[in-house]
């Protein structure tokens, strides 16, 4: 079966309803279509969550990067930097940062590692670009899923219409 780059299968498009309906009953076909559509919707939901988490992560990386870039600008000068740093959500305290060549990055899993400013910038930039790529892919997948859901919906509507028409013709034939 054909699939997109992340292995999500393509929905089958019904080219000719008459042909298609030769093999299966209307009920079975509609059930099959609904099932496929709900599978796509399930995937869509999980991708939406993935997108939301990336959209949150990216600004956080950008913030860290902005600070590292600021400290890089200050590097080499003998002046310390006066700051107000966040102790808690609504609580800030004064802090003086002496001239520095290094920063500590929080890596997760309760680990913090000291990096030179250049290394930190490199690491954060690469994290940022990876996150942005993942976000782009998630959006691509979401658009792809939307396409597949639309196809299944159009398929459903057409089979349904086809059935309504067939029933009416049968009725007309009987009463005639």
């Amino acid at each position: 079966m054909e699939a997109n780059p992340r292995g999500i299968p393509k929905a089958p498009f019904v080219d000719n309803v008459d042909q298609y309906m030769k093999t299966d009953t209307v009920e079975a076909t509609l059930r099959k279509f609904t099932e496929a559509a709900s599978k796509y919707r399930f995937m869509e939901n999980s991708k939406l969550q993935q997108r939301a988490s990336l959209e949150q992560k990216i600004p956080e990386i950008e913030k860290s990067l902005a600070m590292v870039e600021f400290l890089t600008e200050k590097r080499g000068s003998d002046q310390s930097v006066e700051t107000l740093f966040e102790v808690n959500d609504t609580l800030y305290a004064h802090a003086t940062i002496p001239p520095t060549d290094t920063v500590n990055l929080w890596l997760g899993a309760n680990v913090m590692l000291e990096y030179t400013l250049d290394e930190a910038q490199e690491l954060l930039s690469s994290k940022l670009s990876i996150a942005k790529t993942s976000l782009k892919e998630a959006i691509e997948d979401l658009e792809f899923l939307r396409d597949q859901i639309t196809i299944m919906e159009v398929n459903t509507a057409r089979v349904y219409n086809w059935d309504v028409k067939r029933r009416r013709m049968e009725k007309d034939a009987v009463s005639a």
């Binding site: 498009f13 559509a37 740093f85 396409d147 919906e153 309504v164």
Partner: protein, 135 residues
């Protein structure tokens, strides 16, 4: 069965138009563009507000005493910056956001135009059997 916003093909419609793969692709593209447009419009609104804040800020900052350092937010911390440096940063941010807003604007215009084209094509094929208006 319809999408959340568009009842794409109405069930009861009996006009005999076969949906070709080409039609299906047009419908897909339209639906996709519509979703894209919505998220771009959200983003545009957000950036526009941000831009207004920055414009206000640029005005206010003119009134400050230039002897006093200003706390400027970088990341999650405030850094005490000389007024001039802070102004430069505000200017830079303003330029950046102007570019973003302009870019969003032209993307939105492009997508809207493309959607109009698709609308014309789809309506001329399916007439009332298809609904492409926003609910």
């Amino acid at each position: 069965m319809s999408t959340d916003k568009f009842p794409l093909l109405q069930r009861e419609e009996e006009r005999d138009v076969e949906v070709t793969w080409e039609d299906q692709q047009r419908i897909n593209t339209f639906s996709k563009l519509n979703t894209r447009l919505e998220s771009l419009e959200d983003e545009y609104k957000k950036q526009k507000t941000e831009k207004e804040y920055l414009d206000d800020l640029a005005m206010e900052i003119e009134l400050l005493d230039d002897e006093q350092p200003v706390p400027y937010k970088i990341g999650d911390a405030f850094v005490m910056l000389p007024l001039e440096k802070a102004q430069n940063r505000v200017e830079k941010e303003k330029d950046a956001i102007d570019a973003v807003v302009e870019d969003l604007d032209s993307q939105i215009a492009g997508i809207s135009a493309e959607m109009e084209e698709l609308k014309k094509a789809l309506y001329s094929r399916f007439g009332k059997a298809i609904n492409l208006e926003r609910a």
